[in-house]
C-alpha cells in the first residue's frame, strides 16, 4: 500500500488547538525518553506562572523560559485512523508556532517582596496571630522555579517554614542563633564535623526558648544532617555571620581591617581562619583608599533590580566603572553561566582595556 488518504480527524473541532510543539534541548529529550520507558504516570514537567507573567517550564531541578516562535509554514499533526489504520491518516491539528525553551535562572527574586512584613524575629509568639500570611504551598505554585531550585531559594534567602507558612528570619536574629550554635559547639565539646542535632536543639530550646522547628531548620541550612549528626558547612555559617555584621554598614563604610576584626571576633577563635572577604562576594563594595586603608560597605546584589537593563543602570550609577572581576558577582544571580554574562556585558557595558585590566563603563551616560 503506497497511497495514504489524508482526512480531517472525525473530531476536528475538538482537536483544533489541543496540540503544541515544543523544541527539546538534549537533556530534556533524554529525560522524556527515560520516563517513557519507566512508564511512570507522574508529571515530570510543569509550566508555571501567573497569567500575567512570561511562562516558564520546570523540570525537577531546572527552569526554562518558554518562548513562542511563529512559523510561516503550517505544520500538520497526523495520527492513524482507528477504522482504517493502513490507508488513512487524520490531520488532528494545524500549527503555526513552536515553543522554544531557553534555560533561565529560577525566578525566586519575588519571594522577599511577597514576604515583606512577615519576618520571624525574637518574641515571635506574641505577634503570630496578627501577621499577614503566605503559605509554602501558595508560594510553590506561584514562584517560577523548579522544586529543587525553589527549596534552594528558600534556603538561600533564609526563609523558615513554620506550620506551613513562610517566614523569612530577621538577619540579626539568625546571626544571634548561629553565634549561640558556635558557642555550644565549643562549650559542649562537640565536633563541627558530626554534632548531634538533638543536643544542640534542646540546649537552644531550654536556655534561650528558641523553638525546635526554628533551630532544626537553621541547622539544616548550614550543612548536612545525616542520622541526627550535623556536619557543619563552616564557610556558609561564617559568611552568614559576616553578612549580618556587614548589614550595619550600608551607608557609612567601615574600614576593611576594622570589619575583619569584628567578624573574626564574632565567629570566635575556632573558626577565625575561615573568615575571608571572598565569602561575602556580591554583597559588598570595596573602596581602595590610600589615605586610611580600604573601606567596604554593604551592597547586596539581592536588592538590585532583576531586569538586566535596570541592574546595569543601577550598577553604573553606583560606580562609574567596574573591573570585570568586581562586576561579576553582581550579575551571577540574573544569568546562567559565564557565557551569558559576557553577552550581557557586551550589550549593556563598554569594555576598556588598560594596563591594569579590563574596565567596564556604561554604554550611555546616565549622569549627564
Amino acid at each position: 500500500m503506497t497511497e495514504i488518504e489524508l482526512r480531517f480527524s472525525p473530531s476536528a473541532a475538538r482537536d483544533t488547538g489541543s496540540f503544541r510543539l515544543i523544541e527539546l534541548p538534549p537533556e530534556l529529550c533524554q529525560l522524556i525518553d527515560s520516563t517513557a520507558e519507566s512508564k511512570s504516570p507522574h508529571p515530570i514537567l510543569s509550566i508555571k506562572g501567573h497569567p500575567t507573567e512570561d511562562a516558564v517550564m520546570c523540570t525537577a531541578d531546572k527552569t526554562y523560559s518558554l518562548r513562542s516562535v511563529v512559523l510561516s509554514n503550517t505544520v500538520l499533526v497526523l495520527t492513524p485512523s482507528r477504522t482504517d489504520p493502513d490507508g488513512t491518516v487524520h490531520v488532528r491539528d494545524q500549527l503555526h508556532e513552536v515553543l522554544e525553551l531557553v534555560s533561565s535562572v529560577p525566578k525566586v527574586h519575588k519571594l522577599p517582596v511577597l514576604l515583606r512584613g512577615m519576618e520571624y524575629d525574637e518574641g515571635d509568639e506574641d505577634r503570630r496571630a496578627t501577621l499577614p500570611k503566605f503559605s509554602y504551598e501558595q508560594a510553590r505554585s506561584e514562584i517560577q522555579a523548579s522544586e529543587f531550585e525553589f527549596n534552594l531559594g528558600l534556603r538561600d534567602r533564609r526563609i523558615l517554614v513554620l506550620d506551613g507558612w513562610l517566614r523569612p528570619i530577621a538577619s540579626a536574629h539568625l546571626s544571634t542563633i548561629l553565634g549561640l550554635l558556635l558557642n555550644y559547639l565549643i562549650s559542649l565539646g562537640l565536633s563541627h564535623e558530626a554534632a548531634p542535632v538533638e543536643e544542640l536543639v534542646s540546649s537552644l530550646a531550654e536556655d534561650y526558648e528558641i523553638p525546635r522547628e526554628v533551630s532544626n531548620q537553621i541547622i539544616s541550612w548550614f550543612g548536612v544532617v545525616q542520622e541526627g549528626l550535623w556536619k557543619m558547612d563552616v564557610s556558609a555559617l561564617v559568611a552568614e555571620i559576616g553578612l549580618a555584621l556587614l548589614g550595619n554598614y550600608k551607608h557609612d563604610p567601615i574600614l576593611e581591617t576594622e570589619f575583619m576584626a569584628k567578624w573574626k571576633n564574632a565567629v570566635g577563635d575556632a573558626f577565625e581562619s575561615v573568615v575571608s572577604l571572598q565569602l561575602l562576594s556580591g554583597n559588598y563594595l570595596r573602596n581602595p583608599n590610600d589615605f586610611s586603608g580600604a573601606t567596604i560597605n554593604f551592597f547586596p546584589s539581592s536588592s538590585l533590580p532583576t531586569e538586566p537593563a535596570a541592574r546595569f543602570t543601577e550598577l553604573f550609577l553606583t560606580r562609574q566603572r567596574w573591573k570585570s572581576d568586581e562586576i561579576g558577582p553582581f550579575l551571577s544571580d540574573i544569568v546562567v553561566g559565564s557565557k551569558e554574562r559576557d553577552k550581557l556585558l557586551l550589550k549593556y557595558a563598554r569594555a576598556m582595556t588598560t594596563p591594569e585590566g579590563t574596565w567596564y563603563t556604561a554604554r550611555v551616560g546616565y549622569n549627564n
Binding site: 510543569s46 509554514n73 506561584e142
Partner: protein, 148 residues
Amino acid sequence: MIIPISVSPPNQFSQKLPPAVAKLGHDELFLVELQGTLNVDGSETTSKDGQLIGKMNTADMNKPTLLIGHHLLEGKVVNLPKPLGVLHKDVHGVVSPDRHPSDANAGPNSAESEQVSWNVVAVVKKKLVFSKRPMPVAKPVSTASPTI
C-alpha cells in the same frame, strides 16, 4: 498556576501508522509541513470532520508526493535540528462533590472548573516537508478508485 505535563508511555493497543510513514521515527504520530494553510469553507465548525483532504503517495520515501485537489506537491524527509515534543491537551473536570462527568465539551466560560493537563505524546525527530509550490494536475484523481 501550575500546568503539569506528563509523558504518556507508548500505548500498545492504539493504532499504528502505515509502515512507510512509521519509518519517520514514531509509529503513532508524524508531522507534515506545508506552505500556506488548509482552508476549509463552511460555517459549521464540525463540517470538516472526517473530510478527505488529499492523498499522499509514499512509494518512494525520498520523494513523497501529496495530491490535494488539482495540486500536486513534492516533498522530502527532513531531520529536525532539535527534536520536537508533541504536547496534547487533556481536559478533565475537577474532582468536586457535585461534578459533572462530561464537561470535555464545555465552553471557555467553565475554564475555572476544568483541569487542564498536557501530555507529551511523542518526541519527533523527522518531518515531511512539502515546501515547493504545487504543480497543477489536469485530471483530479482524488476520488479515483484504489490503485494497487
